[in-house]
Symmetry: C2
Subunit: 437 residues, 2 copies
C-alpha cells in the first residue's frame, strides 16, 4: 500500500484515525539505566567522566575538557570556507529569524494604584543556556539558528553549544551556523555526558540554567532526568504535517509537501484532508509518479505507508474540526481565502496559509521557529521562542496606605486558613509608623 | 539552636550556604510504583477505577462518577454561608488577582513584509484545564483563586476542579472560592486517580489539556507521569523566603515575616541577609520573644532550626549577589530605596519592595500569583500566570512574490542538509502561476 485512504463517512473513521496518530512514546528501560549511570558519574567526577565517555562513545581522546573546546577561530574559518550561496542563505535565514523573534520579546511593566501601591512584572533573560546539537548526519545548521537566535534575542549573555565529534570529525556547516547564530562557546562533547556537564557543571564547564536542542534517545532521557536542576525545552516526538486543501493547489505541490515531512524519518506523519475525492486521486497519482525520483524514497515510502493518509472530508469546516483534534505540529491551509479557515483553528504549532506557504519555507527561513510542539501537545504548548529564554518576577511594592487595606484582607484570609503568622505579619503593618519598634 | 547565624566572611560560607539550601527531591520508589498502577487502572477501566480508589482512599462509596460531582448549588450555598468579612476578603482578593493578571494577557500579532508576506503569532487559550485542590487541612481557598483566575482570564472555557472529600467531608471555603474564582465544574475526587481521570478521561469525565494545582506526593508523581499527554504546572518544592534588610525595619516585623514562611511546614526555608550584626541580634531576640505565642510554634521552631539562617553580609550589594545565587521563591527587599536594590536582582519568583510589602500580602491579595518557582528554579521559570493557559501558533502566509526569494534560500539550505523533498517543495513555488498543473 502506498498510503492509506480514508473517508470521514466510514463507520470506524474516528477509531482508525486515532490508531494512525498513536505513537508509542514509552521509554526504553536500558537507555534509562545507562543514562542515569552516565549522569551520576558526571555529577560525581566532573571532567574525568566527560573525558572517559567521550573517548568511549566518540573515540576522541583529549588530555583535558579544555582541549575539547572548539575555538571561535575554527567557526569563522568554517564560515569563510562555505560556498557563497550557502553562506548568504544562512545569513538571510538568521536575519529573518532574528526579525520575527524580536516581536516576541517581553518587556517589564508596572502600574500604580490610587494609594501609591506599585505592582508589576519584571522580565529578565536567563544567565546561561546550553544548546545541544547532534553530530553526524542529523546535524542541521538550521537547528543551530532556530535554537540560538531566540536565546540571544532574549538577551541571554552566554549560549554554550555542545556537539559530539565522533572520530574527531567536526561539521563545518554547524560551526558556521554557530558563528552566524551568535553562539558564545562551543565544546566538542555530546551524549548524556554533555547534558550532565551542562546541568551540573564540571571543573571546566560552568552549569547552565536551561538546555535546549534535539538529540538521540540518550540525550532525550538525560534531559528528562536533569529537568528541575535546569530547565529544558520540549522532548520532541516524530515530526508531522497536516494539510487542508480545497483541491485547487497543483497536486504535485501537495504531494511534495507530504514528501518533505515524510523524508525526515520512518515515523514522520503526513496527512492530507480534502473534500474532493478526485483531487485525492490526483495527489495519489502524483505520489506514485514522483516518489521514484526522490533520493530518500525508501524513507518516504515507509513513512507514507505506515503513518500517512489521504482523507476525504465532507467539508472544509469538518477538516478544521479534525485539525483541532489532531493539533498538528505543522498545518498547511492550501485553499482560497485561507484566513477564513485559519480563524477556526485553535490548536497547531505553525499555520501555513495559502498555496505558496510550503512548510519547507518555514523550516528554514520564513522567520518563525521550526522547533514546534508535536504529538498533539500543541493543545497546551507553543513553538520555541524568546519567551523560553526570558522569565518573569512579580513586583509588589505596597505603600503604607495600601498596607492598611490589603493587610486587613490578608489577615482575614490567613486566619481562615489557620496561618496566624501570615496574619500577624500583615497586621504588624497596620496603623504603624516607619520608626523602629 | 534557634536559628543558624552565618557570616559571608567565614571561610566555609559558600559550602555552608549550599548545604543549607540543599533539598533532597529524590522520588520515593514505592510511591512511584503505586502511582503507576493507579494511573494504568484509570486509563484501562475509567469510571470504575475512579470509584474503586475513591472508596478505598477516601472511604466514599458512590453508585457512579456522576454522583461524585459537587453541584454548583452547593458552592453557592457555601458562599452564602460564609461570614461577611471572609466573603468580602475573598471577593476583594479575586478582583485584585483578576486585575493584575489581565495585564499578562497576550494578543495575536502579525506584520506584513514589503512583498506581501504576512508573519505573525496567533494566541489561543487552552480548551480545558483541570485544577487539583487538596482536601483536608492543606485545602487553601486562596490557592483555588490563584489557579482558577489566570485560566479564566486567559479565556479557558472549561476549568474543571477536583478535590478529595475524605469521609465525605467537603470544605465549604474551597467550594466558595470555586464559585468566586469562576470554576466551571467540581468533582469530589482526589489523589492519583483524579489526575489520571483528568489526563486520560473516563466514560464520565472528558480529558483536559493541562493539570495545575498543588497536591501530595502521589499527586505530584501522577502529574509527572501524565506530563506529555497533558501539560502540567511546576512540581513545587518547599516554600522559601529570602529577606534583604538594611536594619531599619522594625525587628518584630522581620521576625514575623520569617515565621510566616516557616509556619508552612518543617521544610520551609526562611533566610535573612543584613549588613548590621546588631540588627541580626535584635531579630534573633524578637524570634525568641515572639515564638512561644505562635499557634504553629513547633513547626516554626523546627523549620527555623533546620533550614533557617540569619546571615551577616558585608554590604547590600553582596546581599543582592547572594539573592541571585539562591534565586528565591519570595524575596523581600526591606530597605530604604528598595528599587535601587531590586534593579540588581535577576532571579526571584516574586520581589517584595519596601518595609510594608510583607510576603503575606502577596500570598493573598496584592494581585500577583502566589504559585511561584521554588528550589532555585526562578533561574529559568516564572510565576504561574495567564501565559500558562494561552499558547501560540506561528502564522506564515507567504505571498507569491515572497515565495520566489524565500524559496531559493530554503532550497539552498535544504540541499545543504540533504533534504531534497524540502528543496523541491520550495522550488515548485518558483516562477509559477496559481493555475493547477
Amino acid at each position: 500500500m502506498l498510503i492509506t485512504r480514508l473517508s470521514t463517512l466510514s463507520d470506524n473513521f474516528a477509531r482508525t484515525l486515532r490508531a494512525l496518530l498513536a505513537f508509542d512514546a514509552s521509554q526504553d528501560e536500558s537507555i534509562e539505566r545507562a543514562t542515569a549511570d552516565i549522569l551520576r558519574h558526571v555529577q560525581e567526577q566532573g571532567d574525568q567522566a566527560v573525558l572517559d565517555y567521550t573517548k568511549r562513545f566518540d573515540r576522541v581522546s583529549a588530555p583535558s575538557v579544555a582541549a575539547l573546546e572548539i575555538e571561535r577561530g575554527e567557526w569563522l574559518a568554517a564560515l569563510d570556507a562555505l560556498p557563497t550561496d550557502q553562506r548568504k542563505a544562512l545569513e538571510t535565514a538568521a536575519e529573518r529569524v532574528r526579525t520575527y523573534h524580536a516581536h516576541q520579546r517581553a518587556e517589564t511593566w508596572t502600574y500604580t494604584e490610587a494609594d501609591g501601591t506599585v505592582l508589576g512584572q519584571k522580565i529578565t533573560p536567563l544567565d546561561r543556556v546550553g544548546l545541544y546539537v547532534p553530530g553526524g548526519k542529523a546535524a542541521y545548521p538550521s537547528s543551530v539558528l532556530m535554537n540560538a537566535i531566540p536565546a540571544k534575542v532574549a538577551g541571554v549573555p552566554e549560549v554554550i553549544m555542545v556537539t559530539p565529534t565522533p572520530d574527531g570529525i567536526r561539521n563545518p556547516m554547524v560551526l558556521a551556523a554557530a558563528a552566524i547564530g551568535g553562539v558564545d562557546r562551543v565544546w566538542g562533547i555530546g551524549g548524556a555526558q554533555a547534558v550532565g556537564a551542562l546541568a551540573y557543571g564540571t571543573q571546566t564547564l560552568s552549569p547552565v540554567d536551561k538546555i535546549v536542542g534535539p538529540g538521540n534517545a540518550y540525550v532525550a532521557a538525560a534531559k528528562r532526568r536533569v529537568f528541575g536542576t535546569v530547565g529544558i525545552d520540549m522532548i520532541a516526538g516524530p515530526s508531522e504535517i497536516l494539510i487542508i486543501c480545497d483541491g485547487t493547489t497543483p497536486a504535485d505541490w501537495i504531494a511534495m509537501d507530504l514528501f518533505s515531512q515524510a523524508e525526515h524519518d520512518e515515523l514522520a506523519q503526513s496527512i492530507l484532508l480534502c473534500p474532493d475525492a478526485g483531487y485525492l486521486d490526483e495527489v495519489e497519482a502524483a505520489i506514485t509518479r514522483l516518489l521514484p525520483s526522490m533520493p530518500r524514497a525508501d524513507i518516504i515510502r515507509s513513512s507514507l505507508a505506515n503513518r500517512g493518509a489521504l482523507i476525504l472530508v465532507q467539508s472544509l469546516d469538518e477538516a478544521c474540526a479534525i485539525a483541532n483534534d489532531i493539533a498538528p505540529e505543522h498545518l498547511e491551509i492550501s485553499t482560497e481565502n485561507p484566513d477564513t479557515w485559519a480563524e477556526k483553528i485553535r490548536h497547531a504549532g505553525a499555520i501555513f496559509l495559502g498555496r505558496y506557504s510550503s512548510e519547507a519555507l518555514g523550516d528554514y527561513c520564513a522567520g518563525p521557529n521550526h522547533v514546534l510542539p508535536t504529538s498533539r501537545t500543541a493543545r497546551f504548548s507553543s513553538p520555541l521562542g524568546v519567551y523560553d529564554f526570558q522569565k518573569r518576577s512579580s513586583l509588589i511594592h505596597v505603600s503604607q496606605a495600601g498596607a492598611q487595606t490589603l493587610g486587613r484582607v490578608a489577615a482575614t484570609l490567613a486566619y481562615g486558613e489557620g496561618l496566624q503568622a501570615h496574619a500577624a505579619s500583615a497586621e504588624y503593618r497596620l496603623n504603624s509608623t516607619e520608626s523602629k519598634s
